[in-house]
């Protein structure tokens, strides 16, 4: 794993990730079967599929929260599967949680400082970095609020800010747009586009908001019952029969 670490330092702000034949089952229930795909540096990839398709499990495996039964996760040419979540974070993969997990007893700023500490040696630097990121995502005016008191859209922003503070090369976002009003959704989409284009961070989105998927993603990967049933550009995906079948049901045969 030493190789992965030196790689992480050599490649600055973009990462390529390869998911290779990942399988995972829970007590006989196959959550992921032979899932493979690649993510190019500085791109946005959307991971879609019906509930229970295995999207969050896949995130957990990439982020190290769960270990795969088979297969490999390769970041910039080095295997990272089997590492702990904190090690994977320090190699440049950050994530947000679908069920947001703010550090409820702490202020908005302190939440982000904790993320920033993973790449800053001094607390003072981490505070500066956290402040800059809060301004970037638009939470600056709320920095000294208790994070437990934030409304859902702000919690999602906080979750994003905290992950960004770790200086990731690849960011896994689990439904950051879910539950947002259209105007909030537009703001978040602009922010995500900004993060990729300006900072060069690759994004993988789990998303149900198709409007955002179509507008943001360069590549869409469709998971169904733990298998990749389609991948390609957004335009090609919506014409794919297998995708239509899994979302709308198979055509009635009479």
């Amino acid at each position: 794993m030493a190789c992965a670490r030196t790689q992480a330092e050599a490649v600055p702000m973009s990462a390529s990730l390869a998911v290779q034949q990942i399988s995972k089952s829970f007590r006989g229930l196959q959550a992921l079967a032979d899932v493979s795909f690649e993510i190019q540096p500085s791109t946005i990839t959307a991971l879609i599929g019906p509930n229970g398709a295995g999207k969050t499990t896949l995130f957990n495996i990439i982020a190290g929260a769960q270990t795969p039964d088979r297969g490999a996760i390769v970041l910039d040419g080095c295997r990272i599967d089997g590492l702990r979540p904190d090690q994977i974070c320090r190699l440049g993969i950050a994530r947000t949680f679908q069920m947001v997990k703010p550090f409820a007893g702490l202020t908005v700023l302190d939440n982000v400082v904790i993320g920033a500490l993973s790449c800053c040696t001094r607390v003072k630097e981490a505070r500066q970095r956290a402040n800059a990121i809060l301004d970037m995502v638009g939470l600056g005016p709320k920095r000294s609020r208790a994070s437990a008191l934030l409304a859902l859209p702000d919690r999602k922003l906080l979750e994003l800010a905290r992950a960004l503070a770790t200086r990731p090369k690849l960011l896994l976002l689990d439904e950051v747009l879910g539950g947002l009003r259209p105007s909030e959704c537009d703001r978040m989409m602009a922010l995500l586009r900004d993060i990729t284009e300006r900072e060069g961070i690759s994004l993988v989105l789990i998303e149900h908001v198709m409007r955002a998927v179509m507008a943001l993603a360069r590549t869409v990967i469709v998971l169904h019952h733990g298998e990749v049933i389609a991948q390609g550009t957004p335009a090609s995906i919506v014409r794919e029969q297998a995708v239509l079948d899994c979302y709308l049901g198979e055509p009635l045969r009479v």
């Binding site: 979540p85 974070c89 997990k101 550090f103 007893g105 993973s118 770790t166």
Partner: protein, 323 residues
């Protein structure tokens, strides 16, 4: 408004600094007791308040710390300030061993708390039969003639012990404040709020939890040393008993878990009310054994029901100490 807080701390500290000059010996002994629990409560608070690890067996470190320093002094004439380092190391290692096992086998929450009780009880029974240090019959330290003060061997008048524990409680407050503002403090609080989210942000929770447990255990060993030399007698049934562990944690719980001043406020209130009740009952002439525990219970009940955050957060808001 932070200046008000600082002024308040300086005022209270000045009052405490001059206490033996104007207060009665009884008041000084009460204040010693209060500061002892303020110190031990702060040690416990680092584990539970900062890192979210519930220990109900801090009597273990209190006892092991006390017995280590006392036995080295009694058997080998090794001065307490030297023996202290052995006690700190021993309690740090004990805490580390217990915590490493717990974290390795994912013993968490209530089960972690049960494990800490088990370890303290195990030590209590072990020391009951440990004849080298007196077993259940106790260990007694040589008492020197009254009036002579020997700070190096911690033999001296009550005022000496008062100033020692005042220094310790002050140092613990300073250490807690520094830790809370350091990387460790941020990481501990992150782990306390959500270990999963902390790990996703690059926090090696095992390492930082170990640090909290070791600091807390070692600090409590120092309380043990103080206790041994202040009372000059050690009994396993007293030092390792679960009621000791409970007394240690009552202060922070009542004052405010995880806050800097909570353990101090809580200890002050409990000492005042506990002994106030004892005095009152004696003065009125009633015979109520265990009235102190009764008061502790009532206070605890009131806090849980009306101020679950503890007194300090509510007080700080009321006095507008932080804003």
């Amino acid at each position: 408004m932070k200046r008000r807080a600082i002024l308040l701390v300086i005022g209270v500290f000045g009052l405490l600094l001059t206490l033996p000059l104007w207060a009665s010996p009884y008041t000084v002994s009460l204040a010693t007791l209060f500061l002892f629990f303020a110190y031990a409560g702060q040690a416990w608070n680092i584990m539970m308040g900062f890192a979210g690890l519930l220990s109900l067996g801090h009597a273990l470190y209190l006892g092991v710390g006390a017995y280590t320093v006392a036995a080295l002094y009694d058997h080998f004439s090794i001065g307490p300030w030297l023996g202290l380092w052995v006690a700190l190391a021993l309690c740090g290692l004990l805490a580390a061993a217990m915590a490493a096992l717990a974290f390795r086998y994912r013993v968490a929450g209530v089960y972690f708390a049960l494990l800490t009780i088990a370890c303290a009880e195990f030590a209590r029974i072990g020391f009951d039969h440990f004849t080298w240090v007196g077993g259940s019959g106790g260990l007694f330290l040589k008492v020197v003639e009254p009036g002579r003060m020997d700070l190096l061997n911690l033999r001296g008048p009550p005022a000496m012990f008062y100033y020692l524990i005042l220094l310790l409680a002050g140092a613990a407050l300073l250490l807690s404040a520094l830790l809370l503002r350091s990387r460790a403090g941020y990481y501990w609080q992150a782990i306390r709020e959500s270990e999963e989210a902390a790990a996703a942000l690059g926090v090696n929770s095992f390492r930082w939890k170990m640090l909290a447990v070791m600091i807390s255990g070692a600090m409590t060993a120092l309380a043990g040393m103080f206790s041994a030399f202040y009372y000059s007698n050690l009994f396993p049934e007293q030092l390792f008993h679960i009621s000791r562990s409970i007394e240690i944690i009552l202060g922070p719980i009542i004052g405010g878990v995880g806050t800097l001043f909570g353990p101090i406020i809580g200890a002050a209130l409990l000492t005042a009310l506990g002994d106030g009740a004892t005095e009152f009952v004696a003065a009125v002439g009633w015979d109520v054994p265990g009235v102190k525990q009764l008061v502790y219970g009532i206070v605890l009940f009131a806090i849980v029901a009306f101020l679950p955050e503890g007194i300090w957060p509510a007080l700080a808001r009321k006095l507008k100490l932080f804003q």
